[in-house]
Symmetry: C2
């Protein structure tokens, strides 16, 4: 009996999809390379079957069946990941959590809301918005991703500088472990009760269990919102400005800085770098913050720009071109996000953009920053390369990645800010964690998933690849 | 050859203390029960020896020697823990990190500072204060604890409501794993590179490795500070006031609410509950926040109190009576900190104080709150019992704990806000984490420390005690 037949018997035929259409639609996530390979006729195979659990018990049964048979199990939200975290194998069971999509509860007193993990992110936001609340978590993929996926990938939202990344917003996580047991991690507003086990699931990318439910800590919608925008003559001037803002104790939810190449996306006549901010909170706080950053900009020599630039960004911020539009023009492109301390971020920017620009056929190598911390910030690179021959496309793609990773590593930054590891960064995990850090991650993986069935090939380097004791 | 002899040969005689004086001084931490047992002539035994490593390599050698011989290894900072996280066994090696006490570096651009784990907390703060910076972390024990201890126990500081708990302040953690390998966890201002492995050490209480170095993310000293104080007629009125403050988007670093019994500590003529706050940040933010909370207090019916109350607290906040002063009067006493959601915190307060008050000989059962979150807050209970007979002292002590834990558990709160688990709370770990959560913690422990030598008896329930598969 195949695993699919076994699962049909256990879960019923409605929950197990075996049609070519259902399996073909879920072969991979939104990693550019998977789309490129599809176009080149060497795409990922279809999974053995697609399971659409209707309950947590269905998830448990699926996990147990896969462990018992040594079958790879690949959790799947809405497939908006961009680092190859989902690529089906022909033996694999693909676990599509899309039918686990209820809003479980919304608590306006404690500002918490509980969701099934498979719920669409925008649907979750709209449910709490109806009560005057917000999750405060606005990834660009909000309409294309799930709340469980936010946990699995350690997502960041566009308002993170004040509202935090997903690890700062999550209250508790419900997950099915590879043992088949259900666990709820996180109790109370804060605990000192051993290691915070929520962090085993945060960033686990399907390799350590299946997230089935999420409770987030919400916010009331802010009383006031204001926007500011400024032109900086150099990236370094903009970085210095942003550093001064957060290190003096202001925390605009949105702080973004575009290099001169990307500033054109915001306003057609951009001749400089552009810094934009969204300020939110009580009206008097927003007034004080807006006045303070405006005064600081004047003191530091940045020019004010019209707020319409920021309003334009707010209105269009989640629009991105599809890979097919790019690939059909013979171009490979991607975004790569890293983080680094303040005194090294300029070097990362300069080295990475200059290095990618040297790749033959390079059409674009640019960056903006979008998440700010007391100790540094992120950079979000965009590259586009049109190689001479179609056969060189994948090589040009990985060469671009290699150069951005190398420039970041040389400056001591983190190689992944918020897209995760998946397959595209797995080879750099030893650079990121060190050999002992990789061993520690492998130890965690082996202890929780001794059968090695949970999303194999993703995140955790194989022992033979390095980091072994 | 004994372990002590082995370690003397490896590390040299200067690093291994075998005198009765050295061993007796480090038999336990500041758990009241250990002090009580000392007075009753049934105190903890001396460890086999005390190792005072002068380098990370010394720590690695000690860990390896203990693992090789199956010898219990007990990391020790300055012994200010209050939950029994350190109790020596006569076979054990006590690893006193006090000689690893350098300030490694201070970086005023990136606002980071690196310390040896054994450095005293106040010394660390003073080192960064000399450059106009602060860690923002002010546990009551700051002068009695180490920066490594802050990580090991998941500590909270008095300014946590704006500045976060230690997990929000830590940038990276250096630790020796039970394998003897050195690892540095945390790279860059933020990463999405798998589970955040810093959290394996945060709260590990010596059971998963030895923390040897810590890098914290600092703050500049605030431009302005202001204080406010208000009288609330009931605890619930105060909770509602605090909730409104943080849920409307204000974040005073210090927010504390004392019940009427504890208000007398702050001002002699207290007839009501007292809420005190410290506001810090840019001057215009502090002005806006102070005005907002004052207006809110008036609207919600709280009476303003003089700021001198808060200044008195600031000046005396770390003064606590010693256990001996209490025990010699035949009294057992302790503080117990928990957290709960807003809508249940009043029930926790009422149930726990009422239940403890019923214990024969109860002299005091009171509480204040001191750490506030969007979704709830903590309570910090104080109890004092004078049983009829000395032989009943330990029983009265554990009965008080039992009642506070039960009241918190019934309300769905977390049983430990920031003191940790140690021995006193270990029996409640299944209530806190659930059976599967305990299994997960045991799995982590077994995977990292298969020899079981790292601080046995602390934090992690034995498999036989529950949570076993």
């Amino acid at each position: 009996m195949t695993v699919a037949e076994d699962l049909i018997r256990t879960l019923g035929p409605d929950r197990v999809l075996t049609s070519d259409e259902a399996r073909a639609a879920r072969r991979h996530d939104y990693w550019m390379v998977s789309n490129l390979r599809d176009r080149q006729g060497r795409g990922a195979p279809m999974p053995a079957c697609v399971v659409r659990p209707a309950s947590v018990a269905d998830v448990q049964a699926t996990v147990r069946a896969c462990v018992a048979t040594g079958t790879p199990l690949i959790p799947f939200g809405q497939g908006s990941g961009v680092v190859g975290g989902v690529i089906a194998g022909s033996e694999a069971v693909l676990l599509d959590l899309g039918a686990l999509n209820r809003v479980r509860s919304i608590d306006p007193v404690n500002l918490t809301a509980s969701f099934d993990a498979g719920l669409n992110g925008l649907a979750a936001e709209e449910a709490v918005a109806a009560q005057g609340l917000t999750t405060g978590h606005w990834p660009q993929s909000i309409a294309l991703s799930t709340v469980g996926g936010w946990i699995a990938t350690r997502a960041s939202g566009q308002f993170s500088t004040a509202y935090g990344n997903i690890e700062d917003i999550v209250y508790s996580v419900e997950a099915v472990l590879p043992s088949g047991e259900l666990v709820v991690l996180g109790r109370g507003p804060r605990a000192a009760a051993g290691p915070d086990l929520r962090h085993i699931m945060l960033g686990s990318e399907g390799t350590l269990g299946v997230i089935t439910g999420v409770t987030l800590s919400l916010r009331r919608k802010a009383e006031a919102q204001a926007v500011t925008a400024f032109a900086a003559q150099t990236m370094q001037q903009g970085f210095d400005f942003q550093r001064e803002i957060v290190q003096t104790g202001w925390r605009p939810p949105v702080m973004r800085q575009y290099d001169v190449r990307e500033s054109g996306r915001l306003h057609a006549d951009a001749k400089d770098c552009t810094v934009i901010m969204v300020h939110e909170g009580p009206a008097s706080l927003v007034a004080a913050e807006t006045a303070a950053v405006t005064a600081l900009a004047a003191r530091m020599g940045l020019e004010p720009l019209p707020g319409t630039i920021v309003q334009h960004w707010l209105g269009h911020r989640n629009h991105v071109p599809g890979w097919d539009q790019i690939l059909e023009r013979g171009i490979v492109a991607d975004t790569v996000e890293v983080s680094a301390p303040w005194d090294r971020i300029g070097a990362v920017y300069d080295a990475a953009t200059a290095s990618v620009a040297e790749i033959p056929g390079c059409l674009a190598a640019s960056a903006h920053s979008s998440h700010v911390y007391r100790s540094g910030l992120n950079l979000y690179f965009t590259f586009a390369i049109r190689p001479d021959a179609e056969g060189d496309m994948e090589g040009a793609y990985f060469e671009s990645w290699q150069r951005i990773m190398a420039a970041t590593a040389a400056a001591g930054g983190s190689l992944s800010h918020h897209h995760g590891i998946g397959r595209v960064r797995r080879g750099w995990m030893e650079t990121e964690l060190g050999a002992t850090g990789v061993t520690l991650l492998q130890t965690l993986k082996s202890a929780l998933d001794p059968a090695g069935v949970m999303n194999p090939g993703v995140l955790v380097p194989d022992r033979a690849e390095g980091g072994a004791r």
